[in-house]
């Protein structure tokens, strides 16, 4: 099964992911991370469709998704370099 990961330490708290999640499934922390930013937190793993919209919008690669189905391949079907 696909799995989404939010890396708090990479997050700069911009909130763009919050804005674009079609399911309103991301919120900002009240705590600050090491670099002093609030960070994005997944609200409910079950409600995440792994659409990756949040990840595509994130300027800081603070979100990654493991999806065995599409893994190690890019859209053109070529294996990764």
């Amino acid at each position: 099964m696909a799995k989404i990961k939010f890396y708090a330490e990479r997050c700069k708290g911009c909130g763009l992911c919050v804005l674009v999640c079609p399911h309103g499934n991301i919120r900002m922390s009240t705590e600050l991370n090491e670099t002093g930013h609030p960070y994005a937190v997944l609200v409910d793993p079950a409600r995440c469709t792994h659409c990756a919209l949040c990840g595509r919008m994130c300027p800081d690669m603070a979100i990654e998704i493991d999806d065995p189905k599409t893994s190690k391949k890019d859209k053109s079907g070529k294996p990764r370099e």
């Binding site: 700069k12 600050l32 090491e34 670099t35 002093g36």
Partner: protein
């Protein structure tokens, strides 16, 4: 070793925490007390996503060197600033830490410490932005470098010109800082007097 009549201060935190304003007010306060003063702000690319800081030199004599490599006092409003500047403070100097964001103890035993929960106090006052004023209050209270009334006048001058409606809040924050801070070890002013 800095010149005996000279005090060098660094104020550091995130951009947006009002670092420059604190430096500016210290400088203006000193100017009102007839002292010589120079100020400087860290500038440029180093700011993006990093630590912002300002420096002030206050002196009774002509100031030779406007940069501050080894401050007598460091006012640090967040953790990364402590990491960056704690090692450079002069032995016998002073660190002011915003305990709301700086959760760790000092690593040095040869400097004094002023503790103030600036961010929390500011939150209580209803505006996170005045954490800098809380810290300034704490600094004025314990460092004994400048008189409180000079700083109050400096704040008064600045805000009545630009943002009169924020003046009371800022003065309140200054006061809160003076009152709700804790001094551990001898102050910079103390060391001098």
């Amino acid at each position: 070793m800095n010149s005996p009549s000279e005090t060098k201060i660094i104020i550091a935190g995130f951009g947006g925490q009002g670092i420059v304003l604190v430096g500016n007010l210290i400088a203006r306060g000193a100017l009102m007390e007839g002292k010589n003063v120079t100020g400087m702000v860290a500038y440029g690319a180093e700011m993006r996503g990093g630590t912002a800081y300002a420096t002030v030199v206050v002196s009774d004599e002509e100031i030779a060197c406007p940069f501050v490599e080894h401050p007598d006092a460091a006012i640090v409003l967040n953790r990364p600033s402590l990491e960056k500047f704690e090692p450079s403070v002069l032995s016998g100097g002073l660190v002011l830490a915003n305990t709301s964001l700086v959760k760790r103890d000092l690593q040095r035993s040869d400097v004094s410490l002023i503790q103030v929960a600036a961010t929390e106090i500011a939150r209580e006052l209803g505006n996170l932005k005045v954490a800098n004023m809380v810290a300034l209050g704490a600094f004025i209270q314990h460092a004994k470098l400048l008189r409180a009334d000079s700083i109050e006048r400096a704040i008064g001058d600045l805000f009545s010109a630009k943002n009169p409606k924020f003046l009371p809040l800022n003065l309140a924050a200054l006061k809160a800082g003076m009152e709700r801070s804790r001094f551990v070890g001898p102050a910079v002013g103390g060391r001098r007097s």
